[in-house]
Symmetry: C2
Subunit: 513 residues, 2 copies
């Protein structure tokens, strides 16, 4: 053997070891599921939920509060109007949606490699949304700032397992309420190149989001492409209010995407039963999605459901319980039957810490989200304390789980290499497979490799400091932020965005309303 | 309104509050699932796994080591024998099993209310099995003792969500190896009245277990009823050894139940791929179950699978990863097609602590166990550190999750009360449901109530000591043990058992082999 030969060999081996330590699963812009969803209701059961939703829309109707435009649109479409109350003849809302809403659509990212698909067998993971507080092991719980906001945009950008930058990843409480959205939307645009969500706290802020998107993507592109996906919530039970409808109108008029979500704490905002919460959610979502289609036929809509159980002692929301999982499975099937993408799920928990309660409850929500075939999973990473806090360590733990779902969703590899029958026949009884050529060939990709789990011996774990999962996650988010490098952006566009933002900010006084 | 009336009312209210605080879900002897299992393989895919298992049995065969009785039985049944190697013509093992093994069976508990059903839509939860160490927050990790063993029998007895007392809930390392089984089996018999598992570490110890069961249940009863269910593992790849076969023979001859489990660390004891591990597991289990049927046609058998992934850096087993979940789903379907009950799953984790890693990994194994329709879930509660430790707090956290599955498995209630359509129509837009008669009527049973989760406000949680889930679980297991009361037992039977044990113990010297 020549020296060169030996050199090559050991070089090859070192390179392989290196590759092994740093390998990540193949990066994909979204998950494509290969399995049929789990069904918890029969055809007859689903028809019952749909029938009840129609009964609610027909007999009770929905209040569209301080929204004369919505009332007028529905009157013209054939609904029965009584003041702000709109009652829908059976099937009307469904037929309005099915006439024009796309079954599936793309939301474009400024990096085309990160464009996500909504609907069908696609599943898109986005981080948690809307918390006023942030939490980490070093400082505990505190109000969120724009620096925290940027940190979570960067952490999401860095994760190969989160496909979407999300929206209000935390509230930047250090900025005035009426100008926060400029810096939030800008952070998504500048510090990530993944798709993102827009502001919905005021119709004007929704229009600002669309204007900024026009600067980034070009006004013409927006007319025919969805580049912003925003979240509007019903005011359950059975009310849509002017703020959410106004924001929805602003996005729909610009042909941008909307997730229409009844946010339901069952027992308080709906009946305490699964079938009751499901029927009411369907009714409220049908009304909201129909409104969007009447404003702009063909505007992309996603049927959203957020259902939590509640503590019957304290009235506090509870998560990871069986009943919201059943609502999720039932409504995912309803969305498929309606023919629109579905949003639900997430790593939901009432825990204040990234502990066993947090992980159990989060897993209990993420599992149904994946197995029901949810298309857009908001709150995939970071959620703590019923959504009141965004956790740094929780984010790392959840994003790792999101990675596992990529491997699961691919299903069972039945290629000859996957079947491995030759290896089994060749190996024989009592011989381990560690050194077998088949094992070596599959070494790097055989099993999902967690970045957070400690699988070492007890003794090694003690030598490493006896850390729990949250402590290991603490080191990971710090390293990720330290190593963060922003995606490239056209400097002229960036300057235009910044100048536009500064002009807008200067044009009216700060306010915290 | 009379004073009496008011008195009754407030008395009724206090009683309701009391009931609410102490309500537990309806206690059932096992779960009856109402939903079709999730399938990860098509009919064609399942046929491929079965075909490959037959190929392994035909071309490679299984080594039955130091077990001439097994080799002779298989020769007589039509297998090709070459020394200790037994090769099976295609379909032989399957046809032996299908000719005589029961599709479903009961395992009788000494309290008939706790008799469990194995197979079909039944799911039975048993605690973790086999760890030499125990762990709690106060003392950390240490070797298990017979006191720990009794504690876990008592904790399992006290849980409404664990149906089965299990077997080696931890190793009582303070007792001599060759006499431990007497105190272990006695603890299950005396400190619980749930069904239990027997000793498999030596054929003689299996016979001792059967003899003790005859004292407890009556010799005649045993001939026609399964009262002991025991766990025998293949020595993968493709080997069955004399100890396990001898124990299996002892139980089968007494018509007692056996769980036949290839215990596979994929990548070491099988190929690293899902389809490869599944086919090999099926082949090994078919051979083991066929052996049991040849020893005693009709003896109850359960097809077991335990598959873990491994760290390709260190060779350590890893849990909660997607690949073992896929193996579980695939083999559960194979068991249904074969027509025998299936064992797999559990709250598996490599974590050393009851932390977020432990909970995430455990949930990732329990979810597929339930959704695949596993019939016997060993390791439902307590497992830590890849099975090396039984955790007190982990046990409490896992048993709480087991409770949630009771509610999930019932599915969606579509009764008029479940549909709640009258309540929704009656309530109207914008009115919360907290005080509605429907909510009050469903108050106590609407949602699963966790004993461990903290759903309070951050402020209340801080006032309560800022405890994480493991710290709350610590208080729960201590309270449960303090409040434990043993089930009644016939004193004469108990004395007979104790006297028999003492005679047996005195009849041969202690040994740690």
């Amino acid at each position: 053997m020549t020296t060169e030969g030996r050199g090559r060999r050991s070089g090859g081996r070192a390179a392989r070891v290196e590759a092994r330590l740093h390998a990540v699963a193949e990066k994909v812009p979204f998950i494509t599921r290969t399995m049929a969803p789990l069904e918890v209701l029969s055809e007859e059961g689903l028809q019952t939920i749909e029938h009840n939703a129609d009964t609610i829309l027909e007999r009770v109707g929905i209040d569209f509060r301080e929204a004369p435009d919505a009332v007028a649109l529905f009157r013209d479409a054939g609904a029965d109007v009584d003041g702000e109350r709109v009652r829908f003849p059976r099937g009307l809302a469904r037929s309005i949606i099915q006439a024009t809403a796309p079954r599936e659509f793309d939301q474009h990212a400024r990096n085309p490699a990160n464009t996500v698909h909504l609907g069908g067998s696609a599943t898109v993971f986005a981080p948690a949304y809307g918390s006023p507080f942030v939490h980490d092991l070093d400082q505990g719980r505190r109000y969120g700032t724009i620096e925290d906001f940027r940190n979570f945009v960067k952490l999401t950008y860095a994760s190969p397992y989160l496909h979407h930058s999300g929206g209000t990843v935390c509230e930047p409480v250090d900025l005035p309420v009426n100008k926060r959205h400029y810096e939030m939307v800008y952070a998504h645009m500048r510090w990530s190149d993944k798709a993102f969500m827009g502001s919905v706290t005021h119709p004007e802020r929704a229009r600002d989001t669309v204007d900024m998107a026009r600067l980034l993507f070009g006004a013409e592109f927006l007319e025919t492409h969805c580049v912003v996906l925003s979240l509007v919530n019903a005011n359950s039970p059975l009310v849509w209010d002017a703020t959410m409808l106004g924001a929805a109108r602003a996005y729909a008029e610009a042909n941008q995407g909307l997730i229409v979500t009844p946010f339901i704490l069952a027992g308080a905002m709906s009946p305490a039963t699964v079938a009751g919460a499901a029927a009411q959610t369907l009714a409220e979502a049908l009304a909201g999605m129909a409104y969007v289609q009447l404003v702009r036929p063909g505007a992309p809509v996603v049927f959203g459901s957020f259902a939590s159980s509640m503590s019957m002692q304290s009235g506090a929301p509870t998560f990871g319980t069986p009943e919201p999982a059943l609502v999720l499975y039932a409504l995912a099937a309803c969305a498929r039957r309606l023919g629109v993408p579905f949003r639900s799920g997430g790593a939901l928990t009432a825990s204040k810490l990234p502990d066993a309660q947090a992980a159990y409850e989060s897993a209990n929500t993420m599992q149904p989200a994946m197995l029901a075939g949810v298309n857009f999973v908001l709150h995939t990473a970071g959620w703590l304390e019923g959504g009141l806090a965004m956790g740094y360590e929780k984010f790392v733990l959840d994003a790792d789980q999101a990675g596992m779902w990529h491997a699961f969703a691919r299903g069972v590899d039945l290629s000859p290499n996957g079947q491995a029958i030759d290896a089994i026949v060749d190996n024989g009884p009592g011989q381990h497979f560690l050194g077998h050529a088949h094992t070596l060939a599959n070494f790097e990709t055989a099993f999902y490799r967690s970045a957070v789990a400690d699988n070492n011996s007890f003794e090694q774990w003690e030598l490493d400091g006896s850390k729990d999962a949250a402590e290991r996650a603490n080191a990971i988010w710090k390293r990720t932020l330290a190593e963060y490098e922003p995606p490239p952006i056209d400097e002229a566009v960036d300057e235009e965005l910044r100048a536009w933002i500064e002009r807008r900010k200067a044009s009216f006084p700060d306010s915290n309303v």
